[in-house]
Assembly symmetry: C2
Homo-oligomer: 207 residues x 2
DNA sequence: CAAGATATCTATGCGGCGTTAAGATAAAGT
DNA sequence: ACTTTATCTTAACGCCGCATAGATATCTTG
């Protein structure tokens, strides 16, 4: 899924330690999971002393913020791709949802860091606010193209939020063993995702 | 929301330390939040030495399991109450959802522990499996009463799972500041919850 | 009731954590 | 060349989860 560069330069002044730390963190996250992501372990992985990160990040939380940022960017890219590849506009919303859940499945630890840091500040990143050309707007635009009323902004926002909540809910649940037999019965994991989304009749009021 | 008894008995042999530890953990969780919930802090709160808990729980995880267990029981009770109070069967599903989200809002740290421990073992508690007279079945039964086909068990399970995912998704998101203005626009928090659930047209195939 | 067995708790210690403070070293500015 | 500044290291503090060994209270059996 990812190619996080390994760091090599081992001179005293590193060159770009913040970058190297973020990469190290993502490498650790992918290889060992969230519980292994200590600041000291990140420093070790990057080949510096335990205190070195503090010259680039105020504390551990700020490093995690940076990691989460990259996560949101990756998720955004996955949604762009999904929309572009959707066969028609009425399936586009489901395909966005499937792409979302697949991202969470393929980057479980990163996905967790993204929402953990968001919960810490009780706010999703700006990218997720109602705005132009961000992740949130991608879902909203699909809803409009599929027949939503662009003038009923409250209803549109509710529909967009509902879609996001649904996708997040499924993303968090899909990993549980309870659903294994349903995945089989549906004929595969993504078929299961689609079936679940079909049961959540996500739509705005019509124009 | 809760009445977690404070422990007093301070004799050498405590009497019921496991009980006292669980209560202490829940008290800490409510007062200080999840990050303050260390095993040592729980022992302090219960008035025993840091190593005492190990005679009643294998490790910290097992204590959290016990706390989570109580959480699921409380959630179950909230759902029973919501179903009993629902005006008619077609609103019952939404009311279950609202009750679910309100539980998460009122017990944020506990709710988090519940899902964190579940994720650790990649499985929700048995209570959540397809079965008789558990939390899962409460949602499923409402879907049947509302017109779902009791014989199409795959579809029923998908619909039940979809409802649960949606509720969980909203529960996790509702705390974010992003939604404050929507809550206002809807005329209150629970009205917002209802509006979101309305946009997720949760239903099984008809009989 | 006495005495040994058992359950429960304390004391101590290990390594790892996040974070801070003080000192070393390399690069940049004058 | 010399100073200044940015960057990194070393060392230390108080927390943490957890393991071990020893103390103390209750239970069991005579």
């Amino acid at each position: 899924m990812s190619d996080i560069p390994a760091t090599d330069a081992r001179r005293y002044h590193h060159g770009d330690l913040s970058r190297a730390l973020i990469d190290a963190a993502r490498r650790l996250l992918e290889a060992e999971g969230q519980s292994a992501l200590s600041l000291r372990a990140v420093a070790r992985e990057a080949g510096v002393s335990p205190a070195a990160p503090y010259h680039h990040f105020k504390d551990k939380g700020e490093l995690l913020d940076a990691v989460a940022q990259e996560g949101w960017t990756l998720l955004d890219a996955a949604l762009v791709k999904a929309k572009a590849e959707a066969p028609d506009i009425h399936q586009a919303l489901t395909e966005l949802g499937v792409a979302y859940v697949c991202f969470a499945r393929d980057n479980p630890a990163l996905y967790r860091v993204m929402y953990d840091t968001a919960r810490e500040k009780e706010a999703l990143p700006e990218r997720m606010q109602n705005g132009e050309d961000n992740s949130y707007s991608k879902v909203r635009d699909v809803l409009i193209e599929a027949g939503g009323d662009p003038n009923d902004s409250l209803d549109l926002e509710l529909a967009t939020s509902a879609a996001w909540c649904s996708a997040h809910g499924l993303a968090e649940m899909a990993g549980f063993k309870q659903f294994d037999h349903l995945k089989d019965a549906c004929g595969g994991e993504t078929a299961f995702f689609r079936a679940i989304f079909n049961h959540m009749g996500l739509a705005p009021r019509r124009r």
